[in-house]
Point group: C3
């Protein structure tokens, strides 16, 4: 249940500058289009400031240089982060599952759970698993043998954590994700394929978040590694032996093939494909649907399939729009040149 606060209390909490009514009671937070007289909204980007005039919000959180004519507003340095803090305050994290082990859960006597772990209905926790303090395991999760889950993690329902997988602290895994499925490796034999045993593991470091129904394969040997703070959206595929650096953001339906290494702070748009065995430098960025088949240097922005540096890709795309016209122009040139008229020095078409 959301709390209620006065605009004065909100301004104090965020160390912001209030103008207007300090005693206005705010009972909800909402986007600029939906906010009503008891709601607070925010504008972080000056280009949305124009929407403030028609906005019905009781109060607005704004950044420097953004103003609504009349009404109550609170100015802070970073309205976006301020709004996130208010969301946390208004909607405090209720734990999804109550502390303790639900009577329907099946927890192996060989598993070690910290005292205040919450294990939901129908969970299965196998031998050798260890789960840290304050972690919540929602219903229908399978924590397989020898899995380590750190402290303060939240594992949503229907997740599979396969054998030997290791999660740091504060890791969040959305529903249906699979961590530690077999890498896709087969050796060709005379008649068909022979499965290559996949004997490695997956490590997700502290503060990693994994989206719903995303799949992260275990390493063939060694480790598939997602480093600290990286966020991966829904329905992504991370293949065996991939290494993803710290604080990367990878949008939905992206696929990264085997043994590719990605640096820190990289960003992928949705539906990106990156082939195997590449090296991607720190801070590289990938446009949505790009298809990456070569190494990418640090700080480079690429787009397209096959992916090219963004400037080059834009020039090609612009030229492509005029390609049918270019074909006509070349035909026109050919006609002029093929039939010269030497008498007049001019050319007929």
């Amino acid at each position: 249940m959301p709390a209620s606060m006065t605009t004065k209390e909100i301004a104090d909490l965020l160390a912001g500058t209030l103008s207007g009514d300090p005693d206005l009671v705010i009972r909800g937070l909402a986007g600029i289009e939906h906010a009503g007289p008891e709601d607070l909204t925010f504008v972080a980007n000056p280009k949305y400031a124009k929407h403030l005039q028609n906005c019905r919000a009781g109060a607005v959180l704004v950044g420097p240089g953004i103003r609504r004519d009349g009404g109550t507003q609170i100015e802070v340095e970073n309205p976006y982060l301020g709004f996130v803090r208010l969301l946390e305050t208004f909607y405090p994290d209720e734990r999804e599952v109550r502390c303790g082990i639900h009577p329907t859960a099946s927890v192996s006597p060989g598993a070690e759970l910290a005292d205040d772990v919450a294990v939901g209905a129908m969970c299965t926790i196998d031998d050798g698993a260890r789960i840290g303090a304050g972690t919540t395991i929602c219903p229908h999760v399978h924590v397989s043998r020898d899995v380590r889950v750190g402290a303060g993690c939240l594992i949503h329902s229907n997740v599979s954590l396969r054998r030997g997988v290791r999660l740091g602290d504060r890791v969040v895994i959305q529903n249906g994700a699979v961590i530690g499925s077999d890498g896709f490796g087969f050796a060709e034999e005379e008649k068909g394929f022979r499965k290559i045993p996949q004997v490695g593991i997956v490590i997700l470091e502290d503060d990693v978040e994994i989206g719903a129904n995303t799949t992260i394969d275990r390493a063939t040997m060694g480790v598939t590694l997602i480093k600290r703070g990286t966020k991966i959206d829904n329905l992504c595929q991370i293949a065996h032996n991939v290494v993803i650096g710290e604080n990367c953001v990878i949008a939905a339906q992206t696929g990264i093939a085997g043994s590719t290494t990605i640096g820190d702070g990289c960003r992928c748009g949705g539906q990106v494909g990156i082939v195997g065995h590449l090296k991607i430098g720190d801070g590289a960025m990938f446009g949505a649907q790009s298809g990456v088949s070569n190494d990418v240097a640090a700080g480079t922005i690429v787009s397209g399939s096959p992916a090219r540096p963004i400037g080059k890709w834009r020039r090609i795309e612009a030229a492509l729009s005029r390609l049918p016209e270019l074909v006509r122009r070349v035909r026109h040139l050919e006609r002029r040149i093929e039939v010269p008229d030497p008498e007049s020095g001019e050319r007929k078409e």
Copy 2:
């Protein structure tokens, strides 16, 4: 177990015109290639009528102007819909799960279930959930807190319905789908990202169908909304705050990014990507694998990545096929022009 009917009974059921044997017993329905002497098949599209000559089906359901030489046939206005009605008759919907609550299910005393609800083995239904008359919940489904499920719904196994999600009547959700996972929202801080609380919900209106392992994120604030009658295929990603209109059809592996609004009656081919914050008009259509990064007007058909109106896209694709040749032609022109031979008025190569 499929029923059996005579061709006369079938013609009566569909109000069709029978020619041939009225007493032929039909025991099955099959596609034109696989149908045998006791089966009925159908031809709706005149371009497939040629296959009728080699077809072994005992009887054929045809549209106006389609005829098989000899044999038994039933003519109706819309053979496709007629065939669907026969499928329904021959394969009446057996309920996947028996009425009542399976003894292994975990249903909170604070959940409200209509009398004839069927809850399968190992389901978890949390506090505050309400489930309408005639709804079937298959095994291993998690219905989280305060979820509302309407009447006559069918939720297949391993589905997750996250907190506060609301389903209308006759909603069908295929296995493994996740409804209400957190939107992918993070605010950048000095060191890394801070999760933006995702406090909105998801609403699926009446007659919506969601495919297997599809993920639909809850709104950051407010509602992610799929309107009445819309059908979404497997492995699609619908991000936070997306609104999809009525009676849309969205094929597999399509992704729609945050806050995009899609009108009524739109159609997406497979693997389409639509970026965030766009407005898509009613009746727009998207070719498979298209990548949409701009608003699309009502009734427009687009294709390609980046997506362009279909006519323009086709002209570009046609020109692309001849691009290597165009490069040669330009080189040829350059050679002719660079080396003029003023004496003859002709040019050497």
Copy 3:
């Protein structure tokens, strides 16, 4: 727990030729970058032979013509297959789940299980299901009515096998996969869509492997068929009535639309899309992200979206890189030609 073997024992096992120390004890297997003095690594491809000089591995498995200066090595005909055999020896397959039926599993009295089947915690096995000898069903799997699972299969956790699905022997299904979800078929009516009953099944033949969270739809009527030995990676979508031949390899996030037929020995890169009702010949290959909208002849390699034969696609891609320059060159030609200077026989720019 991995075993340990001497280099002599390894050479004997693989019928290889040993040079160096026959008594060296090998305690692990590792990739060339991570191998230490008690590990064995391998080099199958001569282009990686250069990495052998800095490699710390105690022993190396090499192919004909590959040598490390000094150290212990074992030469075999096919080092890759040899290494796979060693992986199998060092990491013998521990059964994921113990033989017998876990007390929390719900097995219908109408299901038939071979004696040495292993059924994990929280599984649901419905009426009429039959499961063959030596098969392992991991926790949280739903085996629906009338499903047949052959011998020696391994079904990982959170998998759904829908009604009537049939699996051959030694089939492996990774976590979260859905086999037999409804095909995506709707008939348009005056107001909205009417679901076409999906009354067919799915058959996976012997030695098929299906990746995590992959979805395979049941046929509308008849069979969706994956033939012997075919391997499908994570998050793929196989639509209703698709037929995939023997020993195909299909990489992650590929989608194949309804009723398409694929020959034997085909290979798909990741994120490939193949539209419905196509015929793909034996041995065809598809580059990553290609979009296939026409039949493909046996043995053809295609790439791009829309897909073209690989040679043609490469020429177009090469020309595309120079397209902005081509536009400039054409403009240049136009300038020269539009303004002829008849006096000198030369042209100004």
